[in-house]
């Protein structure tokens, strides 16, 4: 169903895809999407939604690497809309960000996106106007590679999202008025006495004073929570029992996409080992894990090979444990996997906050979850790669993938399959970007300046830029750069993985490298919708130098 059956004859041969309910795959060069305001009753009462072709999620788009796609998007609403092709490398005026790449799609208008597809893998698309992404305007993109990779028996999209009970504008207004509005896991008087029992009186008092002095809450893991969100798999609540079919012994590829506005998920499939084979659409050296965290807007391709004829749960807990999405990988549609018992949330620690305040601790290289057993290769790998990227290569060649099962996927485990030689040597430019915010007033920013007050970041075409993100806040920030890859510096040298979203944890410092090989104006922002909307956003301009100086560079 997903695989292309016939070779493309002519790029000019336009085949119009008919999307019926978004379930049907489309193989064509020209795609049409109609954006409408719909009323849907997902949670038992009618709610306004913004949908493509009336479908939640929007239809899955199947493209082929090397083809020229044409996407005609019609706006049937009374307000402006837009579609952004998330993670896709394309000319900047096709990127779909109103006010940066184009003017948006006015009511009644059709905008034609046209660009060559130069990559393969799992991506997604979503609205980039107002809160339309939160209202249901998102869908999966699957791009078949020119040279097919290892075949699988089944290939499924697992698209996670968060569906709010309230209108998203109202949600934002509530956060502006009371930023802890959605936190119903705050520490109570009862917790105070429990902590005294656990930690002792003075330690507990010292802890409360330390948090109190900062005016922060260690339970503040998510701004918007299960108090208003219903968590969905392919548009379905846990109660709707979404199923994916399999037969024992089959090799199944699950393409996880986190299309949430605000929710990071911890994903596991009890009873199954998951082999992560791609991150953000790009192949990585396989890593076997029991669990992985998927930040907002990330994608991970995972292989599973269930051997037993039983239902396996696909369980995605919200990071703050305020809810979950659940589906079943099952031999029969009427056999549903059990929902695992809830786990307590992990509180923020004062150490993380110390990182946020000092701004220089917790670098990604040093990051290691406490639950992870010591990996004798890890330190060595990182070291070798740092000293000489080619040493990292040798290491990688000798060790294709890791055989040990990691309890939890770590960014450090991600290793590109093909090396990027352009990452050698020192970068042309270094830019430090502090991730900042005012949780109390719900204002988010880079370097303490909101988008509306900020100048664009300008870099030169052909430059290699090293961005260092210093998270000075207590929230996670998935940083998304449009049009250009971010090579995460996780100590793998030329094998550093390239991603479109880099999650930066509270208090953490992470460096990425960007090859400015695409001219134009690009959006650069935190992908938490309400952070982006309140100012954590920049315009990045890649420009050719007007003078001859650029020739020296190239």
């Amino acid at each position: 169903m997903i695989r292309k059956s016939a070779k493309l004859l002519l790029a000019a041969t336009a085949v119009y895809a008919c999307f019926s309910g978004g379930r049907q795959a489309a193989h064509a060069d020209t795609y049409r999407l109609a954006i409408n305001e719909n009323t849907i009753a997902l949670i038992g009462r009618p709610q306004a939604a913004v949908l493509a072709d009336g479908s939640l999620p929007a239809p899955t788009l199947h493209w082929r690497e090397g083809e020229q796609v044409t996407l005609r998007v019609t706006n049937n609403m009374q307000r402006e809309t837009s579609i952004h092709w998330h993670g896709i490398v394309l000319p900047y005026d096709m990127d779909g960000v109103p006010g940066i790449s184009f003017d948006g799609i006015a009511p009644g208008q059709t905008f034609t996106y046209r660009f060559p597809v130069k990559q393969s893998g799992t991506y997604w698309y979503h609205g980039h106007s107002g809160m339309q992404e939160q209202q249901g305007l998102f869908g999966a993109i699957i791009i078949e590679p020119i040279h097919p990779r290892q075949p699988v028996d089944r290939d499924y999209v697992v698209l996670l999202s968060d569906w709010p009970e309230a209108d998203p504008h109202r949600t934002l207004a509530r956060l502006k008025k009371q930023s802890d509005y959605y936190n119903f896991q705050k520490r109570t008087v009862g917790d105070f006495f429990l902590d005294i029992e656990r930690l002792g009186f003075w330690a507990t008092v010292a802890d409360r004073l330390a948090w109190g002095e900062m005016r922060m809450e260690p339970t503040d893991i998510a701004d918007v929570t299960g108090a208003t969100y219903h968590f969905l798999v392919n548009g379905q609540t846990p109660a709707m029992h979404k199923t994916y079919l399999f037969r024992p012994g089959e090799k199944i590829k699950l393409r996880f996409i986190n299309a949430s506005a605000m929710t990071h998920f911890d994903v596991r499939m009890p009873g199954l080992k998951m082999q992560v084979i791609a991150a953000d659409g790009q192949p990585v050296a396989p890593v076997a894990v029991e669990e992985f965290r998927i930040a907002v807007a990330e994608t991970y391709d995972v292989l599973v090979e269930p051997q037993t004829e039983r239902a396996y749960g696909i369980f995605a807990e919200a990071m703050d444990r305020s809810g979950y999405a659940h589906a079943s990988l099952t031999p029969r549609n009427d056999v549903i996997a059990e929902v695992p018992p809830p786990r307590p949330m992990t509180l923020l620690t004062l150490a993380e906050m110390a990182g946020a305040h000092a701004g220089h601790t917790g670098h990604v290289l040093a990051e290691q979850p406490p639950s992870e057993p010591a990996n004798p290769h890890a330190g060595h790998d990182a070291h070798a790669a740092k000293a000489d990227p080619r040493a990292g290569h040798a290491q990688q060649a000798a060790e294709p993938g890791t055989h040990a099962i990691h309890p939890l996927l770590n960014y450090r485990d991600l290793q590109a399959v093909t090396p990027e030689h352009a990452l050698m040597g020192p970068p042309d430019r270094e830019i430090t970007l502090r991730l900042t915010g005012n949780m109390n007033r719900y204002i988010w920013s880079f370097d303490d300046v909101k988008y509306s007050d900020a100048e664009p970041i300008r870099v030169k075409f052909g430059e290699r830029i090293r961005f260092t993100y210093i998270n000075e806040t207590m929230m996670n920030h998935p940083i998304h750069l449009h049009g250009l890859w971010q090579y995460l510096d996780n100590g793998n040298g030329m094998y550093n993985p390239k991603k479109h979203v880099i999650n930066v944890k509270p208090g953490q410092t992470v460096s990425v490298e960007v090859l400015a090989d695409a001219e134009g104006e690009w959006a650069f922002h935190c992908h938490l919708l309400y952070h982006m909307d309140t100012g954590m956003f920049r315009k990045l301009i890649v420009e050719r130098a007007a003078d001859h100086a650029s020739h020296h560079h190239e």
Binding site: R79, E80, T81, S82, V97, P98, G99, I100, G104, H128, S129, G130, L172, A173, R174, K176, K177, Q178, Y181, F184, Q185, K186, R187, T188, V189, G190, L209, G212, E213, M214, R215, N438, N440, R441, I443, K450, Y451, S452, A523, H525, M532, D533, T534, G535, F537
Partner: protein
């Protein structure tokens, strides 16, 4: 710098008038917040008071127009004991603080105008602070300080102690005001947040008043609702 502020204000007014443009990143939006911290009935048997403490702001992250009104009405006597309205410009000056200035119109017990200057925000250890100096027409300085705190018994059952202090720098014969602490209120309210926006409560208030005419103190029971949108 003043030009920048003027720019900002002009932009703010423009945004308020124009329809919200559907940009992906409109981070300068106008919000409006009405909050009746206290709408309550207060009694100690003899005394029967209806009290209000209401604030409303409208503006963006940096600039706000802020209205505050407080007062009480004696139901049995049919008179207002105290009632005033403040109209303030509020400027966000720090993560947790706003600087405010404007005017106060007192309706009861005397009809007066005062200039207002103050700070409002969240102090360390989560103490809500609302402070103001009132400069009267004849140059006397009055002060008001309100401190609030919240203790979570559960996620929705919240115990909220509160202290309000009213001060005067000098005696004011026309208002019967005596220099020093003119009014001290210490209260404890237990509210249940049915919704974040809607919470009925019960509580007690200890009130001590000192004027040129009398000194009185009393313990009162209160019941009311806290409501905002």
């Amino acid at each position: 710098m003043p030009a920048t502020i003027m720019n900002k204000v002009a932009r703010l007014l423009l945004l308020a008038v124009l329809a919200n443009p559907a940009q992906a990143q409109d981070d300068d939006g106008i919000f409006s917040h009405f909050k009746a911290e206290r709408l309550e009935y207060e009694t100690n048997g003899g005394l029967q008071l209806f009290k209000w403490d209401v604030q409303h702001w409208i503006g963006n992250d940096e600039h706000k127009l802020w209205l505050k009104t407080e007062g009480d009405y004696a139901g049995d006597q049919g008179i207002f004991g105290r009632a005033d309205l403040q109209l303030l410009y509020s400027r966000n000056i720090d993560s947790f603080w706003d600087f405010q200035f404007g005017a106060r119109r007192a309706f009861e017990p005397e009809r007066t105008y005062d200039a207002v200057i103050g700070f409002q925000g969240l102090a360390p250890y989560f103490i809500e602070v609302d402070s103001a100096l009132f400069i009267s027409e004849n140059g006397n300085v009055l002060g008001r300080l309100t401190l609030g705190y919240e203790i979570l018994l559960t996620q929705r059952l919240i115990l909220a102690p509160r202290i309000e202090l009213n001060l005067s720098a000098r005696d004011m014969q026309n208002r019967a005001v005596k220099a020093g602490i003119t009014e001290f209120e210490a209260g404890l309210r237990l509210r249940y947040e049915i919704e974040r926006e809607f919470a009925p409560y019960i509580g007690v208030d200890y009130v001590e008043e000192q004027s040129l005419l009398e000194h009185q103190h009393s313990l009162r029971g209160v019941m009311g609702i806290r409501v905002w949108y």
